[in-house]
Amino acid sequence: MTPHMLTRSLDRGATIFLLVVAALGVLIPLSNLLLPAGSFLQVQTYLVALWGKYVCYAILALAIDLIWGYCGILSLGHGAFFALGGYAMGMYLMRQIGTRGVYGNPILPDFMVFLNWQKLPWYWYGFDMFWFAALMVLFVPGLLAFCFGWLAFRSRVTGVYLSIITQAMTYALLLAFFRNDFGFGGNNGLTDFKDILGFNVQADGTRAALFALSCLALIIGFLICRAIVSSKLGKVLIAVRDAESRTRFLGYRVESYKLFVFTVSACMAGVAGALYVPQVGIINPSEFAPGNSIEAVIWVAVGGRGTLVGAALGAVVVNYAKTFFTSGVLAPYWLFMLGALFILVTLLLPKGIVGTFNAWWASSNEKRAAASVSAAAEDGVTEPKMAE
């Protein structure tokens, strides 16, 4: 990524977004650690963890926007990549518990001792090393996405068929991870983590650092996505989204483009999951639930698909609303609201918040309109036309 590519890929909205994320990534941890407890400006530790969770969701939303907004691939199984990344990190954290578990076994995690297993399954080897786990966070979701995408795109499974089989994929994984003999803690998943790279996961400092890291990952993820969509590759992706057959007839290998972007997106989702697990303190099979993946798609739709900034914003807004409503007296009505959000956004706000704002901004200023159109074409803000 040359500096030239970087600057070209950033418009004003993106710059503002990056500055805000960077500022949050620095200020929230500092406020939490340096200001005295109880001070008005001090961000409490639980809020740091909560916002850390939102940032991870934002990374997941970016990953989905990259494939859905720019390449027209609606994956209803991205929660699976997120959860796989989370499990890879969870396995590292489990191995770090060592003898501090309930059964005090230096090698085997508690649930294996409980199941009377004598030795570590082969697929747990290496997870005591951070670098290996970190590699697996990228590799496992990436490999799954590569294999899955290779099979699906090559035989031209598109549109809703792809959506449905991605959903079946995450459902199959859900069933598998619920099994005890699968070796990932079954129903209870992985939890009771003690430390990460020698730091206590519960400590304020670690949480603050994890938050800052999540923000950094969001920034890097955003830059990667921007670089992809504003390059020539990105133009082909948009072409695939809008007229797949035509792009193929023009001589592009559509399936290779799709496979590339799908795999990148899965790796991003894996990273989001890996950052999510130490901050939440647990990973269990319910993360594979098809509902979670669809919910992640609606974050993108609310924020505005094909805008990247919107996806991240949508993830934060929807999840903030979720926290707000599910903790109050309105809790029984949250599902009504979420459901209504799905319906209303698709019916009334097909461009999402950011997309609508962009359109309004463009039309309100005639002088800027011409510039905005060319920028929009470049950024792919134009309303996506669904290719069948």
Binding site: W68, L74, L76, F148, L151, A152, R154, S155, R156, V157, G159, V160, Y161, S163, I164, I165, Q167, A168, M169, Y171, A172, L175, A176, F178, R179, S245, P290, I294, V297, I298, A301, P332, Y333, L335, F336, L338, G339, A340, L341, F342, I343, V345, T346, L347, P350, M386, E388
Partner: protein
Amino acid sequence: MPAKLPARLCSLLLSLLLIAFALPALAGPFEDAVAKFANDDFSDTEEAVGAIASSGNKLAFPIISALQDGRLMADPDSKKVYVTGTDGKSIDAATGEAVDSVPDSASAVRLNNRLRRSVDAALGSLTLQSPDVGTRLQAAQSVFKSHEEGALEAVDAALAKETNKSVKAALGEARAAILLFKSDATEVEKLEAVAILKTRGDQEAMALLTGMGDQPASVTKAAASAISSIQSSLAVWSTVQNAWYGLSLGSVLLLAAIGLAITFGVMGVINMAHGEMVMIGAYTTFVVQEVIRTRYPGLFDYSLLIAVPLAFLVAGAIGVLIERSIIRFLYGRPLETLLATWGLSLVLQQAVRTMFGPTNREVGNPSWMSGAFELGQITITYNRLWILSFTLAVFAILLAMLRYSAIGLEMRAVTQNRRMAASMGIATSRVDALTFGLGSGIAGIAGVALSQIDNVSPNLGQSYIIDSFMVVVFGGVGNLWGTLVGAFTLGIANKFLEPVAGAVLGKIAILVLIILFIQKRPRGLFALKGRAVEA
């Protein structure tokens, strides 16, 4: 019996005291045996059980069944024994006279495991001659299982009197089981017994043959050949059983998917709220049954017949409403439709949860749907059989409707070429609404049937939605026959995989196989060909 004298005197005195005009108990062998229960000694109790079972007294059955249930009370002081009925009323075990209350000093006669076996055997032989055919059959089967030598006499006696064919056969098998284990039975008797068990040919017969212990060489040899013949017949039956289970699962899948085959397959609308239509049908059944229970209890057996059209109307009306208010704005945008209908499914689930509560609701089986019958070695439950026939009937009606009715013709016309159909004067938007309503209504009907075999809860639909999509995608979109074949293929494949891989792994394997299958044939088993594909 001098030893018993004080006890008898005592009981005599007490009964005189308790019931002023009761006749003193006649000291017969039956009364002696009953009094033994009061000794609180396991071997005395066993003797008493044996004596009472062979006494032929009409009180024998109530006494021994009371002993089995812990309702036989013995008073160690007065040596009197009482039977407390399940209704709380008590009788004197020796005379059958009603008593006002059992004295506080009386306690239930204790049993141990060895005794429990003889109690079971005694009860078995007692009921062998019951006037009720079902009871006799059950008794013969329980003797077969226990194969206590002591029951042989009772079995022979019953066999001589028995006229019912199936009870007679069961008694013959019971006799064979006893003879096989009787040490002093002749070789000829034992060979006959082996032959009888071989014709019975089920798991239990095989268990008896494998566990019969030391036998003459000829018997062992006959048993070995019998075992291998049973084994091969069992293998055949287990295949038949798996096929039946598969058909049954397939019918459930077909029922859940058939409405989807209309909305997704024919209209191309991804309705993620399809499962909720099924749920609404199930809750309609619940409401119908509630009303019948409180107002017209006599109509309970007809509740499903009433629920089917109602569920169709309710779910169908909701379907039309959804189509008019949401779906019609999203034609040509399948991914958006998917999201909007998913949101709708959340709303519907939560609405039902708010109205009916989050817990499972009880929906009863009408009498004609409960129970089962035996077909060879497999048990077929009536509700599964009904659901299978019902599913096929719904399928046939739907197919006929699309093929022969005017609205069916319009539906096919609109889905094949919308603009041409509109030019020919078909009100396409009305047809869209009706088609969607039809698909939803059929989902509602599916809910009525599924309420009979599944928990009726707000999450009912969720468990079917992925399976239904798999069926439609596997079978091929836009083709009802594909859905039929897809549903039964998946159902049967699932049930044949289950014994090998386990229920969950079997299901995962099916999902993976479908994903791989779609790679090979992206448009399903029976794909539409021609220009419609890219439309």
